[in-house]
């Protein structure tokens, strides 16, 4: 079986990491697009394979101009099956790769707390005010971060919890991180988890 990790543009060397089952990574070219694959059976635990898949994609960030991550669990019988699947996508892969070029994803999660409203909320109106305050704070964070991002993708309900992926130019990552730090410093009541830079997973799903 051929396991597919990512598509890339401007692929230079292959990363030193091995693929699933310690199989060597291979680059297969389809016109301007490169597919990063490895061949062999996935013999280890699914969780180990999933982690390895993710580590390969992250390592590719340093070896190509643009990386379009592929969801874990996509395998092909042989090279012909892979080529047919790639052909079916037409120009979509190249277009997405061009748009993601030079960008990484930063994840920002505002974690849900057990009690969504401050303990001071003694009646319904106070509770609603507390919810509104929380929403205002989250909207403020989002607006501040969008100033350093090219795009964003939100997952989950916005009211109490925010889970957002931001597409950020590599050069803008330090400014983005400073904006998050500044927000954390001024909002000790919110638990904010910022991770990355990642390959732009959240911006690949629609391709």
């Amino acid at each position: 079986m051929i396991h597919l990790y990512a598509f890339t543009l401007g692929q230079r060397e292959l990363p030193e990491i091995d693929g699933i089952g310690d199989a060597a990574l291979e680059a297969r070219t389809f016109g301007p697009v490169t597919a990063i694959v490895s061949e062999g059976d996935a013999a280890t635990e699914p969780s180990e394979d999933a982690v390895r898949h993710g580590l390969v994609v992250e390592a590719l960030l340093d070896c190509a101009d643009s990386v379009l991550p592929v969801r874990f669990g996509q395998e092909f019988e042989d090279g012909d099956a892979l080529a047919a699947a790639v052909a079916e996508k037409g120009d979509a892969l190249q277009t997405a790769l061009a748009e993601l070029s030079g960008c990484v994803e930063i994840g920002v999660r505002v974690l849900r707390e057990d009690d969504p409203a401050p303990a001071a909320a003694t009646d319904g109106a106070a509770y609603m005010r507390a919810l509104a305050d929380r929403e205002t704070a989250l909207t403020g964070l989002h607006r501040a971060l969008l100033g350093y991002a090219r795009a964003s993708v939100a997952a989950g309900p916005m009211r109490l919890r925010q889970d957002t992926g931001y597409l950020v130019r590599r050069d803008d990552v330090p400014d983005f991180a400073r904006a998050v730090d500044a927000y954390i410093a001024t909002h000790p009541d919110l638990t904010i988890l910022c991770t990355g830079p990642w390959a732009p997973y959240s911006f690949a799903a629609a391709t």
Partner: protein, 69 residues
């Protein structure tokens, strides 16, 4: 990031979960044999929790690349 560096152990665990979350739920889907069903994905999360509990496994799977994220 800064907040994670202060607690490397917690940070590494969070990073690993975030990584697997992306790998399983995001990324481009091309036609092909999807090897994981929804039930399998749940199993991955369960076994990931076991994996997190095993420091030896974590060391083996954990090149510095992701820890530095």
């Amino acid at each position: 990031m800064t907040a994670l560096e202060q607690q490397p152990s917690l940070g590494e665990r969070i990073t690993l979960v975030e990584l697997v979350d992306r790998v399983l739920n995001a990324g481009v889907v091309v036609s092909g044999d999807i090897t994981l069903s929804v039930a399998d994905v749940d199993l991955v999360y369960v076994s990931l929790r076991l994996l997190l509990a095993s420091a030896g496994t974590l060391d083996r799977l954990y090149p510095e690349r992701v820890g530095a994220g």
